[in-house]
Amino acid sequence: MSDFNSGSLEATNIHLAFGSNKVLRGIDLHVPQGTTASVIGPSGSGKSTLLRVMNRLIEPDQGDILLDGKSVLQDNPDELRRRIGMVFQQFNLFPHKTVVANVSLALSKIRKMPKDQAHAKAMEQLDLVGLKHKADARPGNLSGGQQQRVAIARALAMEPEVMFFDEATSALDPELVKGVLALMTDLSKGGMTMVVVTHEMGFSRNVSDTVTFMDGGVVVETGSPDQLFTEPKTDRLKGFLSDVL
């Protein structure tokens, strides 16, 4: 897997509050083209919310989001989300549609591809994640790992410039995590721009180009995996790492 038409992503000074609960308090995240940024941190630190703000599933109160260097806050949010693929912890496949229909739905309805062309492209994507033989199954009949790979295929079919992974392996049985992580590693090596919210410290350390540690709605530390994992500067990161490693 390579030659993605990927782009850079930048979030600057993102603020978001739900009522009096300040979830994000001035977040900066810079993801150069073709790199993988992993975001780690304790539950409730705002990692998943940050992803949803960057594709405008949730509108930020303040701050800017730049895709390929251009602000996207004035654009139609539906257009923006077509350029950013997203994979969820709970897969969120459409249970009333077959596997291949899950992948082809957006191609035919949004990209306006003819049915047979959308189907062919969907089959191609399923082949890339090794699940062509499950094309006519319902998502409910697949294992969690297979469902997540279909979800990745569904996102990739739209040829996104950036991919978001929101704890993509957290809901999987341990033996199924590997296959999904291998697929994510392939994407990363293939030059996809990725933001990966994860509890998989191995992936974060070995695959990502930068690691960002969030806690309490702020970025506490950011840098290369080596910097953060071998020489954490703050007590908060030291404490977090000693808890999870």
Binding site: N55, R81, M158
Partner: protein, 252 residues
């Protein structure tokens, strides 16, 4: 023994039943089904509109749907049928020249069914996990497209048993249309039984009507139970040999 004879003669006079059953098959059954099915279909359409209004992000349609539902769920069926049927009858006659009570009867049944069906659809749609809407929107679908393509179809599937229950209710409520005055060819199952019972002073024709209703409603009730069970347990799946074996050792 005299009492028993009397009871059998009152309720199960086969001769009296035999006289009405052909008429019930030829005229009554079709009319009952026309009333129930057409108001069921129209009720589903109006109910879906109410459901979508009920979950709207705009408070005005939400409020309209709320008031409508409260009113039509809160009134006795016979009162709505009389008010609509008798109240609008003259207007329909002036406009179209028709005195057929069916359109207004169906309208009254539809208005009531829609209030219930709207609530059924709304609860089904709202039971769909939030992640479905989120995933659809993340792909780039608008809110409306997401609802139409992803959320509403799943919501409808979940409430199919409840919809069949509504159809059962409509089959029974269609009997109230007799209050609007029916010509011989417009009579549905109940009216045919009722007329014959009045003419002969014997209740057996009404018992025959009851049997007709049960032949329609009991299979539907079991269909609901079957659908409910299928949704809870999923399609019957083939048990893997080792799983079947595990059950054997469970009690030990």
């Amino acid at each position: 023994m005299e009492v028993l004879d009397q009871l059998v003669k009152t309720f199960f006079d086969w001769e009296a039943m035999g006289q009405v059953i052909p008429e019930m098959f030829a005229v009554g059954l079709a009319n009952t089904l026309i009333l129930a099915i057409s108001s069921g279909i129209l009720g589903c359409i109006l109910g879906m509109i109410l459901a979508v209004m009920g979950i709207s992000r705009n408070p005005i349609p939400r409020w309209i749907a709320r008031v409508y539902t409260d009113v039509f769920r809160g009134l006795p069926a016979i009162l709505v049928i009389l008010l609509i049927g008798l109240g609008f009858g003259p207007i329909v006659r002036i406009l179209t020249g028709s005195t057929n009570p069916y359109p207004l009867g169906i309208a009254a049944l539809t208005l009531m069914a829609a209030a219930y069906i709207g609530e059924i659809f709304r609860s089904g749609i709202q039971s769909v996990e939030k992640g479905q809407l989120e995933a659809s929107r993340a792909l780039g679908f608008s809110y409306n497209s997401s609802m139409i393509l992803v959320v509403i179809p799943q919501g409808i599937r979940r409430v199919l048993p409840a919809l069949v229950n509504q159809l059962i209710g409509l089959i029974k409520e269609s009997s109230l249309i007799f209050t609007l005055g029916l010509l011989a060819s417009q009579r549905e199952i109940f009216q045919i039984g009722q007329d014959q019972a009045a003419n002969t002073g014997n209740l057996s024709p009404l018992v025959a009507a009851g049997l007709f209703y049960l032949c329609l409603t009991i299979p539907l009730t079991h269909l609901v139970n079957f659908m409910d069970k299928r949704m809870r347990d999923g399609k019957p799946v083939k048990i893997e040999p080792d799983e079947a074996a595990a059950v054997v050792g469970k009690g030990a």
